[in-house]
């Protein structure tokens, strides 16, 4: 069924029309300066979209070519001055040239496009052609063949909605956290093994979907997402037992010197130290133990602690502490650093000092 929307300025009426003859002839015969929505979905198109599309429907705002078998979207789209929503789900897009060259640079479409749905196609990587779409608010690439998310995703400055469920993604680039307006992030049904702590910078995030991945723990920074209302974690091999990292390597002399400089606020200027040491000092992380107030560089104890989250979950969160004597502020009895105090749930084993187990990081 092909539906052509005969829009009035407000609202629309949908009519089912059986089109005979070639697609170009059909569309040309229905050209209209008022049509705002064109839905060609669920009909196998004989070939690419005709080049005359923008001439025949200059007022087009929504184009739906889902389920039409298209292997490429071409330059016929670039001169649609008002197109804000492009739906091309369930097609054969993904090979080189699937998207028009110069998409992001197109003076009209590059700025007008707000919603792009390419789910159910064959993209093996996020198409570079998209990255310049600075006005894009909603992007869906669910059920494709993505193995990674490029760090350049941060160029999509207006992105609020990002759907990447059902791919083969193994990790999340920290650059994703630079998207200032992201409120809905879907990464379910992938192969993600860890969540970068930087994700906690997504202050606008309301919903985070991580179910059916390979996560064993989350970074403790996830607690900073105060606006988070939806969090799905089921189908992950989250560790259920309290564990402590066995392999604590004592700090190097460089580390000890660095710690002293930071914790005693020893002043220095760029001329005092070689560049590599200046960079090193810059990378200090703060120990979350409120009584410690120290810093660490490379040598730290990794510890999984269970934290009540949203009043509903006991999440295993990874804490990095500067020494085995430190204790993070998240435990319910944080004053003592003995192992007894740190297990506070019936489903966690009490780990005695002599039976430390290796952290299961998957």
């Amino acid at each position: 069924i092909t539906l052509i929307d005969r829009s009035q300025p407000r609202g629309c009426t949908l009519a089912c029309i059986h089109l005979d003859g070639g697609l170009a002839a059909d569309l040309a015969s229905r050209r209209s300066a008022e049509t705002r929505r064109l839905v060609l979905s669920q009909r196998r198109l004989p070939g690419p979209l005709p080049p005359g599309l923008a001439r025949w429907f200059p007022a087009l705002e929504v184009l739906d070519v889902s389920g039409t078998g298209l292997a490429a979207l071409g330059s016929e789209l670039l001169s649609l001055p008002r197109l804000h929503t492009l739906l091309a789900k369930n097609n054969r897009l993904g090979g080189p040239g699937s998207l028009p060259k110069g998409l992001a640079e197109a003076p009209l479409l590059g700025r007008s496009l707000r919603v792009l749905n390419l789910s159910g196609n064959r993209f093996a990587e996020l198409p570079a052609a998209l990255l310049g779409l600075r006005g894009l608010q909603s992007l869906s690439l669910g059920s494709n063949r993505l193995h990674s998310i490029p760090p350049e995703i941060q160029e999509l400055r207006s992105l609020e909605f990002l759907y990447l469920g059902g791919n083969f993604i193994t990790s999340i680039p920290p650059e994703l956290a630079s998207l200032p307006s992201l409120s809905y992030l879907v990464l379910c049904d992938n192969k993600i093994q860890s969540v970068p702590p930087q994700l906690a910078q997504l202050h606008s995030l309301r919903s985070l979907s991580l179910h059916n991945n390979l996560l064993t723990y989350l970074p403790r920074e996830i607690l900073n997402l105060v606006h988070l209302e939806e969090l799905s974690l089921r189908g992950n091999p989250l560790v259920v037992r309290f564990v402590r990292d066995l392999t604590y390597n004592p700090p190097s002399l460089q580390e000890l010197a660095g710690r002293t400089i930071k914790s005693r606020n020893v002043s220095y200027t760029p001329g005092d130290l070689p560049g590599n040491l200046l960079r090193y000092l810059h990378l200090a992380s703060n120990c979350p133990n409120p009584k410690c107030g120290g810093v660490y560089f490379d040598s730290c104890v990794r510890q999984i602690k269970f934290v009540d989250f949203c009043g509903k979950y006991r999440l295993p969160l990874m804490h990095y502490l500067c020494s085995p004597e430190c204790s993070s502020p998240c435990s319910s009895a944080s004053q003592s650093s003995t192992s007894q105090s740190e297990s506070d749930s019936e489903d966690e084993a009490i780990v005695a000092a002599h039976r430390m187990q290796k952290v299961l990081l998957g």
């Binding site: 759907y163 469920g165 379910c188 919903s207 209302e229 799905s232 089921r234 979950y313």
Partner: protein, 204 residues
């Protein structure tokens, strides 16, 4: 009103007719589950009849009240965006019928956790319900999770609960811990009804 000896086979031609027949079937005190299920099965989903209730939310599935069944039942339409799913939940001693109106929904059945509520919950079975298929569950059968596993298509389902209930328990699959939650309506009778409370809604 006497219970009929044989299960009558009803056919609902439209959603409106379905509601009318439901009012009739629930007029008495007893529910003939097979009859209600057959009726729900018989209705061939027609989007034009229910689209006014099908209000989607970007972040999670929605519950949209269609009819209150004279206090005997609640009939509602649930709208599931791509990837949206529910917690594992019970049905507060009520009958629950669920019919898919559009798309597909995966239903996973779970055993009740043991009394202590410790340890991973046991999955009983799972199935995918297709358009127009209708499932039934109550607490004696077990608990379930319902989800739209599609990343490209939305799903819409028609739910009937009798007696109506406003709270249920949700369960953490990893531990069996349960928590009571209050359920809210995204819309009622086709009108959007925002929820004032800031209480965390059921999650998974």
């Amino acid at each position: 009103m006497e219970q009929p000896v044989q299960t009558q086979m009803w056919k609902a031609q439209t959603l409106e007719e379905l509601v009318q027949i439901l009012h009739h079937l629930f007029a008495g005190d007893k529910v003939n589950v097979a009859e209600v299920q057959a009726l729900m099965d018989s209705y061939d989903s027609n989007p034009l009849e229910w689209m006014q209730y099908a209000k989607f939310d970007q972040y999670r599935y929605t519950r949209n009240l269609v009819d209150q069944g004279n206090g005997k039942f609640n009939l509602m339409i649930l709208c599931w965006g791509e990837g949206h799913g529910s917690s594992i939940h019970d049905h507060t001693d009520s009958h629950c019928f669920m019919k898919v109106l559009q798309g597909n929904l995966k239903e996973t059945l779970f055993e009740w956790p043991n009394k202590k509520g410790i340890g991973e919950m046991m999955k009983k079975s799972e199935r995918v319900l297709r358009e127009n298929q209708c499932a039934y569950i109550n607490d004696s059968i077990g608990l379930h999770r319902v989800e739209n596993t599609s990343h490209t298509e939305c799903a819409v389902s028609l739910h009937l609960y009798s007696p109506p209930f406003e709270t249920c328990s949700t369960f953490d699959q990893r531990t069996g811990h349960k928590q009571k939650v209050r359920m809210t309506f995204y819309s009622q009778f086709g009108e959007r009804t925002p929820c004032a409370t800031a209480v965390l809604q059921e999650n998974n």
